[in-house]
Symmetry: D2
Subunit: 178 residues, 4 copies
């Protein structure tokens, strides 16, 4: 029914060994926050919300992972040092995968493989490793709490993925790939 | 395992016929917001949150009910007219039960029967009519969304009912029965 | 240039003697918050903002006064007991004038005399007793702070630069040089 | 009484010609927001607040200037390209001075000259070019509005009482008399 979540194609990891992988998390629900450090909607909303979710649910049920998928401003946010400084200042202590760069500084490889529309994007992967939710843009806390619990509790969930079709570029909600 | 939710002992209903009852809602999850119109934590937090929950979940899954349980300031908030004015100004359009008064203006009868500690109190009743959650005080949106989804999806839920033991009287979180 | 602020026509006062009057406050700037206890915009915004202003400015410069002007739902909010219960729950400890009722339960007398359009209305009266601002509806904090300061003074500003001595490094408030 | 604000020692400017200087702004009050692009308190609070102030006051009275004073994570945030990307994403359209680097990547020169304690720091410079306020850390909107207005003027206040003509009845903003 649900497809398996494809492995991440990473350059390296922050806060985890470089051979870290999604497969190691089988048995737990995984919340993946895909972001760029200069994406306003990621900084002000999506990352704090993901951290709140990680605090709210038991670590034996839910694991939080970041995926840094830079598709613009490569010079400013494309280095490991820039991401390290950002993670340090914003106290991001969960494992963060650095997406492998695409050709000619375009959309990076994991982002392209998942056909993500931009950042922030949230992935929810169930205990069996299947991709249950892929959501671009902002979610209300109540909706996210319900989604996570639904996957944890393994009931049926109809996600009303209500986000419309934003134009390329960045706005308050996030950044859309060209 | 879970006890059946006791019937409400009501004086009358607002936004519903006077013979309205919980029993009529069997098959759907029922969210009951117990409040007083002069309880700051009810007005600023609990009622708006309950309305947000009602918007977020499908009406075929979740029904919102109010219970006005006045245990203080009876003169100011104890009349049907006062509650009607309040419901009008705050756009409360869901059915609201008016709790039957206790002896000598003390704690009203439904509130006493449920041994509620004050307002706001939230009850969550499952599709079979069993009382699943009774929570006094403030809940985060993410927690409430998760709880409702859990009861809707019928998984196991361990509610960490973390609220401590507040003293009698009102504070920002609500009002505690003496 | 500016008209004198007309005396309030009151039924009685809460948190003050019944012969309290604006005239007694000459020499200080007076912020008057005109409200109804069942007016959502008053409860959620205007009253908390007025209390914040009273905390922010020195009591020798600014005095906060309430004016309860009931023009609807007289049965629910028109009694002194109802207002007392409300003031108790919401911790309103400043003097509150109860506007004298109009004919046939219509707009009360002070509200009519000032030709106010509704609640919340904010009045700002200068040290000489002149009405400087009469504003209906919501104001941003920054605007209100600027208005009050403008009326308070042409004087130098004593900034209570209250920030303590944080350690080097970054926290939520900012980053400190080593 | 008040010292003149020392000239900024800049590497270059964003959103302004490179010979831009504070002196050109004499006659207007200048609000300077000193920040680092990876400083959480700057991004979430100080910069949005400064932009709100710039919107709230007339441009003939108040000018907003940024000063990017990088004293840590030079690799990540110390390049003009990184700042440009940040300014683009966060829609910073006001002139931003890039502080001249200190020796050996330490505290930059303007920051050192002003003996600033870190970021965010706010400077308020009056019409005569004197430094009136230097504040490190977070300020409430109401306090900042009051400070700016205090420095702007002894003049009369033109309140743009912008509220339109609402219909009778109550809405979120308040209640209108019939």
């Amino acid at each position: 029914m649900y497809p398996m979540a494809a492995p991440f194609i990473t350059q390296s990891w922050l806060n985890a060994a470089d051979d870290f992988s999604l497969a190691a998390l089988r048995g737990r629900v995984v919340l993946v926050e895909v972001f760029q450090m200069l994406c306003p909607g990621c900084v002000s909303h999506a990352l704090p919300q993901a951290q709140k979710a990680a605090r709210h649910f038991s670590a034996t049920d839910l694991v939080l992972i970041g995926l840094h998928s830079v598709f613009e401003h490569h010079q400013a946010q494309g280095t490991r040092a820039a991401l390290q400084a950002f993670a340090h200042e914003y106290r991001l202590e969960f494992p963060i995968a650095i997406d492998a760069p695409g050709d000619a500084d375009a959309v990076p490889q994991t982002m392209r493989h998942y056909a993500m529309r931009g950042t922030p994007t949230l992935l929810l992967i169930d205990r069996e490793g299947r991709l249950r939710i892929q959501h671009f843009g902002v979610l209300e806390d109540m909706a996210l709490g319900a989604m996570i619990m639904s996957v944890i509790a393994e009931g049926a969930l109809a996600v009303a993925s209500a986000s419309s079709n934003p134009a390329a570029g960045c706005d308050e909600l996030g950044c859309v790939t060209p």
